[in-house]
Structure formats: structure tokens, C-alpha cells
Amino acid sequence: MTPEDGSARNGPDGQPPEGQASTAWQDEGSVVERGKSVPTDGNGVDHEASEQAGRAAAAGPRQTRYGRPVDSLGDGPGGGWRQPAGGSGTQAVDIQQPRAEDIDPKAARSAERQVALLFLTSAAAAVAFAVVFFVYPWEFRLDNSPNSYYTPILGILLGVALCAIGAGAVLWAKKLMPDEEAVQEREPFHSEPEIRAATAADLTRGLDEAGLPRRKLILGTLGLSGAALALPAVVPLASLGPSPKRELYTTPFTAGSRLVRLDATPVRLGDLKVGGIETVFPEGHTHAADAATVLIRLRPDEVRPAAGRENWTVDGHVAYSKICTHAGCPVGLYEQQTHNLLCPCHQSLFDVLQSCKPTFGPAARPLPQLAIALDPDGYFIAQGDYSEPVGPSFWERG
């Protein structure tokens, strides 16, 4: 981007000649002034403009690099686009329009007042925040009192305090700060050949001085220490926890475990009505995540046990695992009339009358069934653990 008239050519080290600025802006004043007297060579072409115009022309005739037709000059917020270099010797003119604030001192004063007002608003909001914090009624109440607006008011005031500073700063920059386009020369990317040679010489000399190829003992022990570093990186994997062993295959249910609710009260025959559902756990394990079970009461004539499971139910009561066999969400949505258990996460639908076979959704296996019975006192007990692992599939499950 050096003009051929040599007015601002940079020296061999990339710096501008002494006494010359490195940018046309510094050299020739603001764009507005340059617009009045464009430096051209004999062809009447402004080279800075032509560089950009060359790119613009490549995009298409009479179009800027952004594709907007150049006919729409002067639009856009406070500026137009540079005209591409015309072929018929037209003089390229920098047609960026000046801002109102640059030309009209009244507009500048009004912009200044606007920015000052925003900063004042911010200060006022910050002070109001402090006042509201101490003065406004803040105690939590259940009724319809203004107390419930305490936090929102504080939030709004803080938001205004911060945003007003930001808005003021942005408007100050847009309206009042110098608005010029400056072109800065780019340094060439490559270093000079002398520098490259000197750097290479430095590197080889450093390597020689270190003497590594000669000192085999050092090299060998360095290699050993690097290899041994693999040990502290790999060995801590052994602390990834005890092996789960059979954890995934078993739940805390055993033969004779009473079914209890979350509050540890046992469930009796007769607590549930037909169409009722209760979440139960084995006694003493109400926090066991894999033992969550749903106890459902069907009409006795509705129960259709699978083969081999005829004595797994008690008077229409059936118990199934609450953990979805798809991804483990609690299947608690029981549709009483259609006897479906719906999982809320991915909408797997299990038909309770078909031993919780999945009839819709991504679950592939039925919910495991818990065989239940009654103890002599009339409380529900489990006949044993689940017949298969509960929950989603895992690799060893097969």
C-alpha cells in the first residue's frame, strides 16, 4: 500500500521514513479534510482507495466488498462507502459523510448532554439501590404484599445502573469520539534474510554448547525420566473406585422385606384402592436408588400374570420396578384407566396388564416385576429380589 509518488514509502526495516507518519491519516489529516483534497498521482487515482476498490471491483461492478450497490451512497449510520476506481478516469472521492456532531456544535452539545444524562441515571439508580436495600420492606410473606417485589426492584435498579453506563459509553464513542478511517501499513511477514540467518546460527550454536550429542549419560537418563513419567499418569487409574462386582444385578430387596413408603410406614392390604399407586421401598432402605418400586392395585380379574408368575401378585396388587429400562428415570405416571405407566423423560409407555411390556417409546425391555406376598400381619412383603437387574441396560447384562 505504498503510493508511487513516494510520499509515504516505508524504509527497509518496515518503519516509515523519518518525519513521515506511517498512516495516511497521521500524514494527511482527517478523512474529512482528505476528502477535500485527495492525493492522486498522474492518473488521478487514489491508490489507497484503489487497493480496496480492487477488491471491491473483484466482487462485482459498482459494488462494495459487502455487496451493497454503490448507488446508495451516504446511507448507513453516518457513512457511505468508498467508490471503486472508475475506468474512465473518474476521480475517486472519499465520500464518507461527516457526522452531525462533527459539523454542528449544537448537535455535539446535545449528544454530550445525552451521554451525561445516561451517566447520571446510572448514578441515581445506584444510589436508589442503596436506599431501597435498607428502607423497603423485605420480610418474606405469604400474602399479597409489596414485600415480594423487593428483589425484583433491586435487580432492576442494579441493571439500570450498569446498562446506563454501558449505553452512555457506547453513545459517547459513536457520537463524539473521533470518527475517522485510518489506514495502517502492514509489516511484511517474513523477517529479513540477515535476521533469519542470525537466528539459525544462534540455535545451532546453542545446541552445540549444550553438548547433548556428546553427553550420552545425560541423554539416557533424560529418556528414562521421560518414560517413567508415564507411571504417575497411568497408575492413579487404579483408584477409580472399587469394582461394582454384582451391585448392578441386585437390589436391597430380600425374601421377607416389607414394602414401606418413603416415610418408612409399611403398606397393608387395603391401604390402596383399585386404581391406586404407591411408591415403595424395602424396609430400611428408603434411600436406595435402585430399589424404587411402584405398587399398583388392579381389579383381581384384570391381572393377567405371565407364565410362571401366577403367585407374584396379591389380590390384584402388582409391584414393578420404578426405574425405566431405557435411561433410568422414575416411571411414576400411572394412567389408571388405560393401565399404562408413562416415563416422563422419553415417553416410554409400559402396559401394566402385559407385565409392563413397553408399547411405545425407546424402552426395549419390560419393567422387572417384584414378586410380593402378605406376611401374617397383613403387610406386603417381597418374596425375594427382582428376577432380573433393574434399570437401563449395561454391557454385562447381555
Binding site: R99, K273, L342
Partner: protein, 260 residues
């Protein structure tokens, strides 16, 4: 007099005296009964009036589907044993009389006055024993316990804030916002449509009152964060954040970076 005429005269006399005698006997018995029958029947009278009125309303509005004796049929289930609570819920929320068949009866405008609903509830309750809404303040419960019970038993279908949720095949758990304490209590007791039945031995009346108090509380509570966005949780909140929040930030960024 000839024997034929005598016979006819005798029978005519008997016929006349038969009907007159009957009338006389009825009058005597009726008068004695009215005088001697016990008079303390005002309450029973009112109840039987309510049941009778309820039956009349039932026959007009409900019997075409539920049967003349509430025995049910192909179109509608039997109402024998559902209790007055079921009537209070179904008719009180406008779900009955059913507007159209579909996956679920929807809440709509209530067709009867509360007095008429009470009468129909009395009639249905008289058919067989069934759940009834208890007297007294139904919101007299423990708010904390109600919150825990709600999250265990109700929130999986009705959403953590009672905003409702979807079930399968077009059914849904409705929003609890328009429900009155009586309707909430009756719904727990009777398990309408897809809702499970929560008997009094599963959720005691005190626990039911706690749940009612909690639902009442969340229905009246404000959304402290501003707009509740339907109280559905992360999905609408995420929508607002992505569209309005990040979109707005993009707009501000463009505004800052635009040419002066």
C-alpha cells in the same frame, strides 16, 4: 220380585257398597295415619327432597348415557358407588355433562348451580356408599408436608408447580390453577379419568388437606422472577434466553459495532 231381578239388585248393592266401603276405609286410615304419624321428619324430608331433586336432575341431564338407574352402559360407566365427591368434581368442574367424546373430558363451563350439584351428589351418594368430601376447611394442613407429598405423588404428572403435563395418546394431567380446594380433594379421593385413586388409607385426610393447602399456596403465589412462562420450567425459560436474551445481546453487539 223375581229371582233374577233380586240377584241383580243384590250385586248392584254389593258393588256400590264395595267401592264406598273402600273409600271410607282409605279415608279413615289416612286420617289416623296423618294424625298419629311422628312429626319429627323435617331433616329427613329435606334430605329426601335433595335426593329427589337430584334424581330429577340426573334423569334429565345424565341418564341418557349413565342409565336410568345409574347402572352405566356402553357409553358411560356405572355411577353406583362413585360417591358424592365424584359428582362434585365432575359436574363442579364442568367436565360433565360431556361435550364430546375424546381421549379425555375437559374442564369447561359449569352447567349447574352449586345447589343442583349438591342435590345430584346427594342422589348419587344415596345409591351406594362412596367417597364424600368432608366438612370443614380443606386447606387446614401443613404446608411443608404438603409440599413433600405433592412432589412425591403429584408432581410427576402435574408438574412441580401444578402447571399440568402430557400423558399418552392425547390425554393430559390438567393444570391445577383453576381448581378449588373441594375439587382438589375430590380428585384425590375419586381418581377421575387417568388419575390414580388416593384412598384415605393411602393419603390420610390430614395429608390430603396438606396437599390442598400446598396447591392453594402455589396457585396464589407470585412468580418472583417476573413472568412465570407457564411455569413449565427449563424449556420455555431456555426459549426466552436463546431468542430474547442472546438475540438481544447480538443486537446490542451489532449496534455497538456499527459505523457511527
Amino acid at each position: 220380585m223375581n229371582p233374577a231381578a233380586e240377584r241383580s239388585l243384590r250385586t248392584r248393592r254389593f258393588r256400590l257398597s264395595g267401592s264406598a266401603g273402600l273409600l271410607l276405609a282409605l279415608t279413615v286410615i289416612g286420617g289416623v295415619y296423618a294424625v298419629l304419624a311422628p312429626s319429627s321428619r323435617a331433616a329427613e324430608g329435606a334430605q329426601s327432597t335433595a335426593i329427589a331433586e337430584g334424581r330429577a336432575l340426573y334423569l334429565v341431564g345424565c341418564s341418557s348415557c349413565h342409565g336410568l338407574n345409574a347402572q352405566g352402559g356402553n357409553e358411560a360407566p356405572s355411577l353406583i358407588g362413585v360417591g358424592g365427591a365424584a359428582v362434585q368434581f365432575q359436574v363442579g368442574t364442568g367436565r360433565m355433562p360431556l361435550a364430546a367424546s375424546g381421549p379425555q373430558a375437559e374442564r369447561k363451563d359449569v352447567e349447574y348451580t352449586q345447589e343442583q350439584i349438591d342435590q345430584m351428589a346427594a342422589y348419587i351418594g344415596s345409591l351406594a356408599p362412596g367417597p364424600e368430601i368432608p366438612e370443614g376447611d380443606l386447606t387446614d394442613g401443613d404446608l411443608q408436608a404438603g409440599a413433600e407429598l405433592f412432589s412425591t405423588n403429584c408432581a410427576s404428572c402435574h408438574n412441580f408447580a401444578g402447571a399440568g403435563g402430557a400423558l399418552s395418546y392425547g390425554k393430559y394431567a390438567p393444570s391445577l390453577a383453576p381448581a378449588t380446594p373441594e375439587q382438589i380433594y375430590a380428585a384425590m379421593q375419586t381418581g377421575p379419568e387417568s388419575m390414580p385413586v388416593f384412598s384415605d388409607s393411602q393419603l390420610t385426610p390430614a395429608e390430603k388437606r396438606s396437599i390442598v393447602r400446598y396447591v392453594d399456596y402455589i396457585n396464589q403465589s407470585k412468580d418472583y422472577g417476573g413472568h412465570g412462562l407457564g411455569r413449565y420450567g427449563p424449556v420455555p425459560e431456555g426459549l426466552v434466553v436463546w431468542l430474547l436474551g442472546i438475540g438481544g445481546l447480538l443486537g446490542v453487539t451489532l449496534w455497538i459495532g456499527a459505523r457511527a
